[in-house]
Amino acid sequence: MRFPMQQAANPIIEISGLRKVFHTKQGDFTALDGIDLSIGAGDIFGIIGLSGAGKSTLVRCINYLESPTEGTIRFDGRVLGTLKPAELREARRSMGMIFQQFNLLMQRTALGNICLPLEIAGVPRKKAVERAQELLELVGLPDRADAYPAQLSGGQKQRVAIARALATNPKVLLCDEATSALDPTTTRSILALLKEINQKLGITIVVITHEMSVIEEICRHVAIIDQSRIAEVGEVEEIFVNPQSDIARRLIFPGGMPVERLGSERCVRIVFDGNSSFEPVVANLVLECGTAVNILFADTKDIDGRAFGQMLIQLPDDEIAQKRVFNYLSRVGISYKEESIHA
């Protein structure tokens, strides 16, 4: 298991021993257990898991919307649990947050929504309006200042929410399923905006999602959370290439690996780690080895123009042909793993 995670080089958020228990009428429920995470400054860090895994609870503990039952959250060098209420509110201004349902004030215009955190921070009205206008430009809505949320599309609402979250120049932006209520095209444009914000402003972004495609698209690191615990954490590429936990495999290959349904056969699992593209590899393998192979399963993804993923190939019965396949793969520098599959 790739666990626990190596310390991030320059952590801005450090979570250690985090545990959250909800006391409900039906008894206690442990929503988070033994969470250790370190999120580096400037990173885009994904947290993925199935519904109910505890993602929202985790992100809400990061800005203390929810107080941890045990453990500490250190943000920018300060342990949040030790802060007085006023200091905590001050600290929250350095942590913007956006939500699946946008959570805009319906009775305020786009500009009014963005001004709210500035009013709270005591910025004079005129300056606040100027800053809000700047932010509207940053998120690509310069001419919608006077629109009310009800007059905006989902994507536009999320842009306003992003602008509001950025108003007080936070160091971190927490995104809880920020694109889950949006269509794929809008999702992509919002993710592109988040990436731009990360690059332009150097803001650390924490992305909570249940969709692997979101992680692929923008994250550098990812933590996979399953049943209240971290199952795996590391670089996105690494985890895509070589998922260790069941939950990681399930999230990366949602179609499922048909492995269990096969008879006892010799197979080879080819791993694409971004250094090659998969089509010539298979074609050349067939040509060079002079043998047909059966692709049992393939799931490859294009990340930043490079191929990642896995392919499960059924080998010919002939042992010499099998050797040739292995030789070929070694020669072209593709990592593979021999597997025998049981029913």
């Binding site: 800005n63 919307l65 209420p85 006023a86 509110r89 001050e90 929250r92 201004r93 942590m95 913007g96 947050m97 939500f99 349902q101 959570n103 805009l104 004030l105 319906m106 009775q107 305020r108 215009t109 709210l116 955190p117 009013e119 709270i120 921070a121 009310y148 949320p149 009800a150 007059q151 929410a161 509001r164 979250a165 108003a167 007080t168 927490l174």
Partner: protein, 220 residues
């Protein structure tokens, strides 16, 4: 048809009724609005949960609300006399109206504030709003349409109470209805007053609804 003096009396009593109802509504909001806010924020899902306060306050309000208005009015006569100096007339009626309507308004305000989407409150918390700022900048403005409808309902309820008060020495339309329509069997006076009351209720209700809708930005 009614004699001119009666029309004059009805005209004056309309003004008296407006005086009682408007002053009472205002005073009831001065008391009921903060209480409603307190109820909304101290309930277990509120922004500053405080079960003892919520329970005690809720209990007092429920007790006041379960006493029928006429009985309440007579029960608190000593209080009325202490404040106004008399228990008769329009000004004296304002005291029981306020005591009767404030708890009602507190509950209306509580329910309006509880309609505000929890996610919005969460967003406000995440940008560093204090509980006071959440009330002032989020709960009250976001609940404005619902509060406006509540105000229309409150004002018409108070109008109803004020008419009842006419039976036991209150002023306004209720007093004319009691003295002429009831004791002197002038059913034509009674009918006119009923029609006037219906019209006033309709006007308040309609204006409240329109104002609420006109300023509700959730509607495109």
């Amino acid at each position: 048809m009614l004699e001119p003096e009666i029309w004059g009396l009805i005209g004056r009593s309309i003004l008296e009724t407006f005086y009682m109802v408007l002053v009472s509504t205002f005073a009831s909001y001065v008391i009921g609005l903060p209480l409603g806010v307190l109820l909304a924020i101290t309930d277990k899902d509120g922004i500053t949960p405080c079960a003892p306060l919520y329970t005690v306050l809720g209990f007092i309000i429920n007790v006041l609300r379960s006493v029928p208005f006429l009985i309440l009015m007579m029960t608190i006569q000593p209080l009325t006399r202490a404040i106004v100096g008399t228990v008769l007339g329009s000004t004296a009626t304002i005291v029981p109206l306020v005591v009767g309507a404030s708890p009602f308004i507190a509950r209306m305000v509580e329910s309006s504030l509880k309609e505000v989407d929890h996610g919005v409150i969460e967003a406000a918390t995440s940008i560093g709003c204090s509980p006071f700022q959440i009330v002032w900048k989020v709960l009250l403005p976001e609940a404005r349409p619902s509060l406006t409808v509540g105000a229309a309902i409150s004002i018409t309820t108070i109008l109803g109470y004020s008419a009842m008060a006419g039976f036991v020495g209150g002023g306004g339309l209720g007093a004319v209805a009691t003295n002429y329509g009831y004791y002197r069997y002038q059913s034509d006076v009674m009918l006119v007053i009923v029609i006037i009351l219906v019209i006033i209720v309709q006007i308040f209700q309609e204006v409240g609804m329109r104002v609420s809708r006109r300023f509700d930005k959730r509607i495109r």
